[in-house]
């Protein structure tokens, strides 16, 4: 993004459309496990039975090899697990576009471009489109697509 104002304008647009935002300021529900945080979306939006919704959530966690954190809650997660939980919570509702806002904030201890690449590839069957919002000075971190 050109600057912080442009980023904020795009994120504001994401709030009002069929975009799902993955951002630092949108935390997981603290009293729910990772599995419940993801499953709650189809359970609430499609009135899906919990078992069926949890199966879907488990399937997504399995795609990215993160079933080990399925029953952990937010304070027990490391930044990568937390990011994956937020990403899957966004993906499970099948939005047109997923916007990942400033991945460096979400993954402070991770070399995040290859991490994002690997996980988005593992989830590509469930992804329509994914935008990564980052600062211009981080552009060299990303491989050209």
């Amino acid at each position: 993004m050109a600057d912080a104002a442009a980023r904020r304008a795009l994120v504001a647009a994401a709030h009002d459309s069929d975009l799902a935002l993955v951002a630092e300021e949108l935390p997981l529900r603290a009293n729910l496990s990772v599995l419940e945080n993801i499953a709650i979306v189809p359970q609430y939006r499609q009135n899906m039975a919990y078992d069926q919704a949890a199966d879907q959530a488990w399937g997504l966690l399995a795609r990215v090899n993160r079933t080990d954190c399925a029953f952990k809650r937010d304070p027990d997660l490391d930044s990568e697990q937390r990011f994956i939980a937020k990403l899957l919570r966004a993906i499970i509702r099948s939005p047109s576009i997923i916007v990942i806002d400033r991945p460096a904030l979400l993954l402070p201890d991770t070399h995040y471009p290859p991490f994002l690449d690997a996980n988005l590839k593992a989830l590509q069957e469930r992804l329509n489109e994914c935008w990564i919002l980052d600062y211009p000075w981080n552009e060299p971190l990303y491989a050209p697509r």
Binding site: L26, P27, R29, A30, V41, R45, N47, A49, R93
Partner: protein, 268 residues
């Protein structure tokens, strides 16, 4: 005019405090009205909200049932003994049963149940909702298409009301049994007399008023903590204890107000 300025400053401060206090009540009444409408809307109930209602009833009523029942039974036993002994002492033994049941089943047990649920679950709900606001979890839920009002709050209100009703019913049933034993002893031949007195106490207006009071108690112990928690400002963790303090004080006064109103309607 320094005196006039000081007077104006005092009035301004008092006025601001009064307005903040009134806004708190306005917020509470608005939330209570919204919660009642949502609770009566069939669309509110889906797989997710039903799960939260079940959890709420489990944590608010089922988990505490043995301990609370024991406490209510001991309290009832002591109070029944005091009333029965006092009535006998003054030659009013024939009124002992009616007096015990009126004091316990109609007044003390519903109030004690509401206070117990309010102190235990109401304080927890107030803290949780305030923390949700502070950590921006409400907006995060809304972003995923989950309405926090329907998913987080209405199930707690419904669960709280059902829990207060159920715990009051259980405690009252034990109190009636203990009152029978205290007055008539371990025998079943006085059941007809007992039923006649119960019929006299629990006439239609008394039952209607009791239902209304317990329902109001049930609403108060969840609606007030949620409303106070929602008033917490985002990202200000220090405000959480203040929010709980305000919620508990407001809850205490509302419970007492409901009790006083019910007494006035019944006896004055």
């Amino acid at each position: 005019m320094p005196g006039m300025n000081a007077f104006t400053a005092i009035l301004t401060r008092r006025g601001a405090a009064l307005l903040a206090w009134l806004q708190g009540w306005q917020r509470l009444l608005r939330f209570a009205a919204g919660a009642t409408v949502e609770a009566l809307t069939p669309a509110t109930y889906n797989s997710a909200t039903r799960s939260v209602v079940q959890k709420q009833i489990y944590f608010t009523a089922w988990q505490i049932l043995p301990g609370f029942t024991l406490f209510a039974a001991v309290l009832s036993f002591v109070l029944i003994q005091i009333v029965v002994d006092t009535a006998r002492h003054y030659g009013l033994a024939e009124h002992a049963l009616e007096a015990s049941v009126r004091i316990l089943a109609l007044e003390i047990l519903p109030l004690i149940t509401a206070l117990f649920v309010g102190l235990r679950s109401g304080a927890a709900i107030n803290t949780e909702v305030a923390l949700m606001i502070v950590h921006n979890e409400m907006q995060a839920l809304a972003e995923t298409g989950v309405d926090p009002m329907r998913f987080e709050f209405i199930p707690r209100v419904i669960g709280g009301v059902i829990s207060v009703l159920a715990l009051t019913a259980v405690a009252s049933a034990f109190a009636l049994a203990l009152a029978y034993l205290a007055v008539y002893g371990f025998q079943a031949s006085s059941l007809t007399d007992f039923n006649r007195v119960m019929g006299h106490i629990f006439d239609a207006p008394a039952i209607g008023l009791l239902w209304a009071k317990v329902l109001a108690f049930g609403l108060a112990v969840t609606v007030i903590p949620i409303s106070e928690g929602l008033a917490a400002p985002p990202a200000k963790l220090f405000f959480v204890p203040i929010s709980v303090l305000r919620g508990m004080v407001r809850l205490f006064f509302v419970l007492m107000l409901i009790e006083v109103i019910s007494l006035v309607l019944k006896y004055i």
